[in-house]
């Protein structure tokens, strides 16, 4: 199993390499990828430097071009593919049918990975992308149970990649418009969910209130940790109850499922978080490197120190198996 780490800057690339990533995925400094945040990602010059660093160490570079091309602007998305091929990326991570078609025709030898944003959750969906565009790998959305992942792996020989750790997107990725409903900007259209420019914090007496585009996402009393107002992780009111109606602030952590993931031939485990700091990426990559090395030996056991280390880095300091574990659903 390959350890695929995120990076949003050159220091993050270095941190991932230093701590044992087999491959690193990055995006260009524009809205062609789904982590289009200010101060993040790689311009033309930086992406070449990243490619050099990664290739010098004989590791793999994946480039995410996983938003959907806007009308009248398809050349910009195509140019992103051209650039990625030009710097020798091992794989292109794409969601848009138009762009998959372009990449498959223009660069028949390019390795195409189907982005999670394409939301392929079934055998025929995977078959669609393989038949039409020769997709070699599919990144599975975080909506499948472990049992369903196993069933899928039995029915396809397309490589499967799963999210192993990081922020938990609980909707079928690429098919969630909650962010554009609230702000006008969504992962599909602008490469951002709950964009920071819409975030406001207000203190009202003892209470700290987070808002997104003037909508109250949560209110925190002094003894609570306030989290980033990702709109699906707020406390809302349904009938008489105020609670995390959609999801709690929590991170995905699949360390304990590693043997099962290995057994069903998962090709790569992916760490979420291109927006994270180099220090975060260093720590997470380090833990997962140790876990992956351990899973290749008998008697794999999740070490307490790994869990502790990851819990400290997690949203709301808690982790979950998410949809992989049936009871979460």
């Amino acid at each position: 199993m390959e350890l695929l780490a995120p990076a949003g800057s050159l220091p993050a690339v270095k941190a991932a390499l230093e701590h044992g990533a087999d491959a690193i995925y990055i995006g260009l400094k524009d809205d062609t990828n789904a982590r289009h945040f200010a101060g993040l990602n790689f311009n033309q010059d930086k992406i070449k430097q990243a490619a050099n660093l990664i290739q010098q160490q004989h590791k793999h570079l994946h480039v995410a071009i996983n938003t959907f091309a806007h009308p009248g602007q398809h050349k910009r998305w195509q140019y992103a593919v051209d650039q990625a091929v030009d710097i020798g990326a091992k794989a292109l991570i794409i969601a848009d049918i138009a762009l998959l078609d372009y990449a498959a025709n223009r660069y028949p030898n390019a390795e195409l990975h189907l982005s999670v944003q394409a939301s392929a959750t079934s055998a025929p969906a995977i078959e669609f992308y393989r038949n039409n565009f020769g997709v070699k790998r599919v990144v599975l959305p975080r909506v499948l149970s472990m049992h369903q992942v196993k069933q899928l792996s039995r029915t396809t020989d397309v490589e499967l990649e799963v999210f192993a750790y990081g922020s938990l997107c609980i909707m079928a990725e690429g098919r969630c418009y909650l962010s554009s409903y609230m702000t006008g900007e969504s992962p599909n259209t602008t490469g951002a969910c709950s964009p920071a420019k819409y975030v406001e914090w207000q203190e009202q007496g003892d209470i700290l209130e987070s808002r997104l585009n003037n909508v109250v996402i949560d209110r925190y009393s002094p003894d609570e940790n306030a989290g980033y107002p990702t709109l699906c992780k707020g406390r809302f009111q349904v009938a008489d109850n105020t609670y995390h109606a959609i999801e709690e602030p929590t991170s995905l952590n699949t360390l304990e499922l590693l043997p099962e993931l290995k057994q069903c031939n998962i090709k790569a485990v992916k760490i979420e978080g291109r927006q994270r700091s180099p220090a975060y990426i260093a720590q997470v990559t380090k833990v997962w490197r140790q876990a992956l090395d351990a899973v290749n030996q008998t008697n794999y056991q999740v070490e307490q120190a790994w869990q502790q280390s990851l819990a400290n880095l997690s949203e709301g300091k808690q982790t979950t198996l998410g949809a992989l574990h049936k009871s979460w659903q």
């Binding site: 959907f68 049918i97 609980i170 599909n188 109250v216 209110r219 809302f236 959609i246 949809a323």
Partner: protein, 291 residues
């Protein structure tokens, strides 16, 4: 422009569904979509019941499309999807790429549903080549996006030889999850949901802590809290949209349909309520309304 009734998004008792379609049979909608699109556990109507309704509505002069699930996870759900695709009589609305795969392999025409990610002319043309005969616009695309997309299509691929349909009234389907939010709202696990959706024929309203209506929870689907209403925008849809979709609500659907038909013949300004929105169409946040 023609009018359609989208598939019922909620879980209604069987007699309520049948009563609804009795009214639909004599309504002004030319196109009727039938079937379960949200959760495979909702089985008040079985496949044979849906097909029977489809036949009756066809006999009443309606163009019927069978709509299919948006989020497919289990192999059993794919088996059901295949059986619908093999029905032999009715066109299928594909709400997931799985259905496009199954239908295009059999060279069957299909409607490309709104939860398939088509954002540009090349993707749309790809679907056209695979057999798409109608395209339902994804919910987050507005007037300007659509206009530019159509222009691109004409420039690159020539005439548009398929229909374009837009959901112009109803709670917008915004997201699908593995988790059932209705079960969660009752503190139940999904596996032990007791099909509690049936108690909420309009879903469960979800408010912010200061009382703003945000979402409607409908099983694994999250909908817009506000009801999209593009009635005032009908005049600027001419030449862009061929079919106007009304999404069924438990009350008032046919009154709304009549208002839309009326609006087409004789446009008048309608005041949107506080709980209605048209933001996406006007290229602003979906929850906002431009009066």
């Amino acid at each position: 422009m023609q009018f359609s009734l989208g598939a019922i998004q909620y879980y209604w008792p069987k007699d309520q569904v049948e009563a609804f379609y009795q009214q639909a049979a004599t309504s002004q909608a030319e196109h009727i979509y039938l079937g379960e699109t949200v959760c495979s556990k909702r089985r008040e109507l079985k496949m044979k019941d849906w097909l029977k309704l489809a036949q009756e509505l066809t006999q009443a002069g309606k163009q019927v499309v069978i709509s299919t699930m948006a989020l497919l996870e289990a192999p059993s759900e794919i088996s059901v999807l295949k059986r619908y695709c093999d029905n032999g009589d009715f066109i299928i609305e594909a709400n997931d790429i799985s259905a496009v795969q199954i239908l295009s392999q059999q060279q069957l025409p299909f409607v490309c549903g709104q939860s398939i990610n088509i954002y540009n002319a090349s993707s749309l043309n790809y679907m056209r080549k695979l057999g798409m005969m109608r395209w339902v616009v994804p919910v987050e695309l507005g007037h300007d996006w659509l206009q530019q997309l159509k222009q691109d299509y004409i420039n690159q691929f020539g005439d548009i030889d398929f229909d374009i349909e837009l959901m112009a009234y109803g709670h917008l389907p915004l997201a699908f999850s593995a988790r059932c939010f209705t079960a969660r709202s009752e503190d139940r696990a999904k596996d032990d949901c007791s099909l509690c959706c049936i108690k909420y024929p309009e879903g469960r309203e979800t408010l912010s802590q200061d009382g703003q209506v945000l979402f409607v929870l409908n099983g694994i689907q999250t909908q817009s809290g506000k009801c999209s209403n593009l009635i005032n925008d009908l005049p600027n849809m001419h030449g862009l949209i061929d079919i106007i979709r009304i999404s069924p609500q438990i009350e008032g659907t046919f009154e709304v349909l009549n208002q839309f038909v009326q609006q087409q013949q004789n446009p008048t300004k309608h005041q949107l309520t506080q709980l209605q929105t048209n933001g996406y169409w006007h290229n602003i946040a979906g929850m906002l309304a431009q009066q």
